[in-house]
Amino acid sequence: MSAGTVALLATSTLSLVAVVVVGVAGVRGRARSAAHTAPGRTARGAVLLGFATLTALGPVLVELPDAIRAVPTFAVALFAPGLALLGFGRVRDPLTELVLALAISVATLVLVAELMLLVGAWSPATLFAALCLLAAPAVAWHGANFIDPADRRPREDDVVA
């Protein structure tokens, strides 16, 4: 096993641990003050937690055969950075969140890629691993905020155009 693979495995493990810790802490915190949750939101939270796990596995995905890693790595690269940042806000409409997450992720990738070209440090795999490490816990936190063990009734503003 090469040193690079060991580093990627370590990154992924660290990221997974962060996802579990942040996710559990987030859900427990939400259970204490479940003021903003609703049916459907719990499912959304579960999807986000699943995506956080996939993001945490991102660094090792790049070691898999191309046919297996293509779709998950595209999904992580194009959505994880945005979902991580949107976790600090409150976008109610899931489709709005999806389009903003895509926009933020693409903008992040473009600007960081240009920066790497500018400084002569072109290393997409390293950048991807770093993004996964940073984004996975934030996406987990984002998802945990939707999980409501009490599964409350919907608020009117859960449904928007």
Partner: protein, 621 residues
Amino acid sequence: MSSPSPLLAPQVPSFPSPEAPPHAADRASTVRHVLLVVLALALWAASLPFVDLGRLDDYGLLPRMPVTFLLAAGALLAGFVVAARRNDVRAGRLMLLYCVALVVVLYATIPLLYDEPRYAFVYKHLAVIHYISDHGSVDRGVDIYQNWPGFFALNAMLSEITGVDALRYANWTQVLFPLANLLALRFLYGGFTADRRRIHVALLFFLLGAWVEYSYLAPQALALFATLVILGLVVRCLRPDPTQWHQRVLATVGGRVASLTRRGRRSGPAADPDEAPPAPLPPWAAIALVLTLSAVIVTSHQLTPFFLVLNLTLLVLGRRSSGWWLPLAVTALFLAWTVLSWDYLATHFPTLLGGSPAENLQPTKHSSPGPAAAGVQFVGTAARGLSVVLGLLALAGAWCDLRRGKRPFLLLALAGAPATLVFVQSYGGEGIYRIYLFMMPWLAFLAAGVFAPAAARLTLRRASALLGAALVSALLFLTAYYGLEQENHMETQEVAVTQWFDAHAPANSVLMLVIQNHPYPLGGNYDEHLAPYGHYALEVLTDPEWVNRPLTDADVHRLHEYVTGSGPDTYLLLSPAQIAYAENHGYAPAGSLAAFFDRVVASPEFQVVHRNQDSYLLRAR
């Protein structure tokens, strides 16, 4: 209170409470709609194996489509209209489902049918992506793309992360970008109205009106998406505060202007801003994202900042944005980036700005020098017809808005503003297409006004009109969008010859094409094979001595002299896509080039250095 949102529908029909359990009839109706979508997609999928790409002609792909393809598209449009008769949450979701299914039918067909990326001009974008992957840097002296590398750097990065060469996923951007634009437009339109029917009918017209290809692997596609998101953020998150000094000035001026018109007096106060949907982001976050996306646009595409600044300015003047300084900020970003690229621009584009409007409306040099094939002319007429239909519907929609007491002037200004590009430059003859592209979101939204009555339920008469407009638009769209596939379809043999040239041709050798409709350049070493003046390849048929005349045996010798006169390391590449383009656009008489190619290949004056089926790479002996 001042009105920041003249089109925010004040008379939105009452929606059923999301807490109310759905009626059994509603559930049954939803199931029927979902089944219709599944059936339409099944019809579409079943039609694909019967498309014979070998029989493409100058009318393109549509005549080669089985009738099941048209039935699938028709079923989706009919289902959309039935769903649009209601105007509630459920209907909104169904209309969106139909739009997504329509994107699949209209845009996923090509990626599933073609083995190689569509359009010859996509390949130079792939070459830049490969260059960045190979070198890990850009060279501003190579071409203009390396001076605006944002989109290419993104794809080089995605290629390396995912392990999928951009050559392999290029066609799928034609599905990804329409889907992304659908969501971005839904986000944007939601800032102008809460009327779900209007939003989704506008999405439908945007899909059906987009005969100008905007979704292929190109910086334009990313820039359009980013522009739509920026405008959505501005409209939804940067609502003007009537106490700000500039809003007070605009309100005073606007009030004076409105008082001069009868409509201005009659329309009265517009919707209360409290009726606007909640802002998805706080203003500071929205501004940060707007500036970040503006930086992406400015570093990715040369033309889009012009349209972005126009739109942002109009939103400020129309009192829909509190970010009066945003147009200035984007302009400053653009100027700063242009200064960085000035060395290249000054040497290659001495007349960056200028030209009369008439000159700037002239098409590219690649438009037909002789009479185009009948099919190509028909396709062009369909495209122009679709533009006229959308334009007329937009005007009708504006009139309907006026009758409802709303003021569509800002939307009309936004729709018309891109046309001012003709006073700036021609953008290599493509300006007219970009103008239409940036008009389209607003034309579609205005057009949807025809079918957005105050009543909760669309009348049968109006629903029939919507179906008729959608069917006419769809037929014109399919004719235009699939109309040039004989020349846009790149075959594997053609790509393979290019790859052979990239791998084997010595550095500083140059490629000569009969006409530049071939998948070239492609490799990351394309900078080693640039022709004089930074052109990617030399061309024969754009020379007036060669254009649109029967080519004889004497021309074989003349071609030999042409090749040898261009330098010792010049390769000549002959391929089917060049024949299709040259003959369809009047560069060569119909049916003449294949025979001429045969004579060239058989001539002792040329040596075939590589062949793949009907594609030849030759050198002069």
